[in-house]
């Protein structure tokens, strides 16, 4: 095939490449063909069965494999081997992205479908006190999560923000600042369960072994949250243009006032965004809360005494140690998971909107 095609470009000088080219629509057409083949195969295998059993994910994956084989063979026949490898890699790289999307879609779908079964008024107005089996809700866990996360935010934001101010405004080029930046990066990798063990050990030494209360959870989450806040706000303080600072200095404004009145207001939208993203990162943490806050069936709003329930731990306990009937427990676990996902997504969305609406002050210059 290539042998018959190669003389053509030599004869017609308009074709400069050594071989023919696939038209632009060819990959898409081949992709369609591959999916049709794979869909037909699975439809036949599923023939007579329940249409709901039709395996969409597997169909997609097999279709992709067909496409990769098809495009490689056809391209190496019509085009050159080099182009075939190029097309193969394009297909593989795009395929990697699709493969990563599958679990995300599957996860969101399952959580929404299973979570909606108990996403009702009772779930948001009852605790688990005196409830065995069906019914009950997670209002105590929602309050616990909100309080503990609020506590973590109150602790983390000042420390994180002041650290990033130090790194950007005072520590430029100093060895200590570089050390802090580096260790903050390392700290983002601390396993969440280790943060829980750490706070537990501190309170075991100070208060006594077996202490569990809300504020411990807030502290454990802070250990995880501070590095995220530092890195986020540091980046945003850095993009505040130096001209603004110099203008303030030229007017005789002291450095600390310049930071408070000029630098922070310029970056505040971005900093809010990064703080909200940090909150959404820690609000779903389970392991540290399981160790430091424990779990309880009823409402407890006192951060400084007794165990508290939290949404992630609630979800975990319902799923890991279900009673009878099992479904009632699993449904509550899914509903709690859906609540968590909704909270996280809303936080993420709000953060992006704030960043979009208020940020272009700097970029618009």
């Amino acid at each position: 095939m290539t042998a018959t095609l190669t003389p053509a470009p030599v004869a017609t000088t308009t074709h400069s490449t050594s071989a023919g080219h696939l038209p632009k629509w060819a990959p898409w057409a081949l992709l369609l063909v591959a999916f049709v083949i794979s869909g037909t195969i699975f439809a036949f295998m599923n023939a007579g069965g329940d249409p709901a059993d039709f395996n969409i994910a597997l169909t997609l994956v097999v279709g992709l494999v067909f496409y990769i084989i098809l495009i490689f063979v056809i391209s190496s026949v019509i085009e050159s081997r080099r182009h075939a490898v190029d097309r193969l890699m394009t297909a593989l790289v795009s395929g990697a992205f699709v493969v990563a999307l599958l679990p995300l879609i599957s996860l969101l779908y399952t959580v929404v479908v299973n979570g909606l079964m108990r996403f009702d008024g009772e779930f948001f107005s009852f605790s688990m006190r005196n409830i065995v089996g069906e019914g009950g809700g997670a209002v105590h866990a929602i309050w616990g999560t909100l309080l503990i996360t609020l506590g973590a935010t109150i602790i983390s934001v000042p420390i994180g923000l002041m650290t990033s101010i130090y790194l950007v405004e005072y520590g430029e080029g100093r060895r200590l600042a570089r050390g802090i930046t580096f260790l903050v990066d390392v700290m983002t990798g601390i396993p969440s369960i280790v943060a829980g063990l750490f706070i537990y050990s501190v309170f075991a030494l100070i208060v006594g072994p077996g202490t569990r209360m809300g504020i411990m959870g807030s502290l454990a989450l802070s250990v995880l949250m501070i590095p995220v806040v530092v890195r986020g706000s540091e980046e945003l303080l850095r993009i505040v243009p130096n001209e603004l600072r110099e203008a303030a200095y030229a007017l005789g404004v002291p450095k600390w006032l310049t930071i408070i009145k000029v630098v922070l207001p310029t970056a505040i939208a971005g900093i809010t965004t990064s703080i909200m993203l940090a909150i959404s990162r820690v609000i779903g943490e389970t392991a540290p809360l399981l160790l430091t806050v424990g779990v309880v069936q009823g409402m407890n709003l006192n951060m400084f005494s007794g165990q508290m329930a939290t949404l992630p731990v609630f979800s975990y306990m319902q799923a890991k140690y279900p009673g009878i009937p099992v479904d009632a427990y699993l449904e509550r676990a899914w509903a709690a998971a859906l609540t968590l996902i909704v909270i996280v997504m809303v936080l993420n969305l709000l953060a992006r909107i704030i960043a979009k609406v208020f940020a272009p002050k700097i970029n618009g210059r």
């Binding site: 990697a96 990563a100 002041m162 601390i190 280790v194 002291p254 990162r281 392991a287």
Partner: protein
């Protein structure tokens, strides 16, 4: 203009203003410095408190320890160390090529306008709480994999990894590793994407100008430039996988045996999982034992993260100098 501004400046500067200015500055910069030091102290305190609380677990007589039950600490913890390393290793092997693919897709293949949105979609994966991944892995993903494991066992059973009897529930170490792989994708993708985008445009254009196809350009210009970045991205992903608790806890049942088999119902389990499972009912030396296991986890993840970040920061200085 110049005379009016220099005039009051020179008269004021020896006066009271600079002293006031300095006090405010001192307080503010002192607070900022203090906040930075708090972070360093916290990191040191994590190590110190874990070590202090871990020491009782190493006592030679462990008959009263309700978790060790007479074993030595090392022989108790070894299977969990193995499980942690093994599951994270599998997760890394699965996730690394996919993450590099996604990063390349976003940085060099996808249309420029879509790239930001696609990056955000991948970041969504990072926003999903780990307990939700655990629920999904245990209740949805594991049953889905049962026929696949059966197929693996029938067709590739001669490889020891897939031998034995496949699990009927799908709750195996391979399922846990697959969930871990999905969970570490975002961080690896983020790092790889960043270094791919740092590739000098001139290198890329030079390759294209010499007639390279897009893949040849990527192979000759982008990948060699990004090699250290990809390594550190993989290590950061490994760090995440080592410390991930909930996904493994929910998917695996705690047997704590040592086996390389991927699809059997009897599985090794990981350090964070065993801590999460045993901690709520632990007391006295049992707590110390679990904290000692946590200390091992902390040291391993700290080392992995330290090396990864060191590679990144060395690289950043290098590319900044150019």
């Amino acid at each position: 203009m110049t005379t009016t501004t220099t005039g009051p400046d020179t008269t004021r500067s020896p006066g009271s203003r600079p002293a006031l200015r300095r006090r405010g500055d001192l307080i503010f910069s002192g607070t900022a410095l203090g906040a930075g030091i708090i972070i360093l102290v916290t990191l040191a305190a994590v190590a110190v408190f874990l070590i202090v609380q871990a020491i009782p677990a190493l006592a030679p007589d462990t008959t009263n320890n309700h978790i060790l039950e007479g074993q030595s600490f090392l022989s108790w913890v070894w299977p969990f160390v193995f499980g942690t390393l093994w599951s994270s290793f599998i997760a890394l092997v699965i996730a690394a090529p996919v993450a590099i693919g996604i990063a390349l897709f976003i940085s060099h293949y996808a249309p420029r306008r879509l790239a930001g949105v696609l990056g955000y979609v991948i970041d969504l994966l990072a926003a999903v709480p780990s307990v939700v991944f655990g629920l999904w892995g245990a209740l949805t993903f594991a049953p889905m994999l049962v026929p696949f494991y059966k197929w693996l066992n029938e067709n590739l059973g001669w490889i020891p990894l897939f031998g034995g009897t496949p699990s009927g529930t799908g709750k195996t170490i391979l399922t846990a590793s697959l969930v871990l792989a999905v969970m570490i994708l975002p961080i690896m993708t983020a790092i790889c994407r960043e270094v791919f985008l740092q590739t000098p445009k001139l290198h890329e254009e030079a390759a294209l100008a010499l007639g390279a196809t897009r893949w040849e350009m990527v192979r000759m210009a982008v990948l060699p430039f990004a090699r250290s970045g990809m390594v550190s991205g993989a290590m950061l992903g490994l760090g995440r996988a080592l410390g991930e608790t909930m996904a493994v806890t929910l998917v695996l049942s705690p047997l704590g045996i040592i086996t390389f088999n991927l699809i059997n119902p009897e599985n090794p389990t990981t350090i964070p999982a065993i801590i999460a499972l045993r901690f709520p009912e632990a007391h006295d030396e049992g707590v110390n034992t679990l904290i000692a296991a946590g200390l091992i986890l902390f040291i391993v993840t700290f080392a992995v993260n330290f090396i990864a970040r060191w590679i990144v920061s060395r690289r950043a200085e290098f590319s900044g100098a150019n």
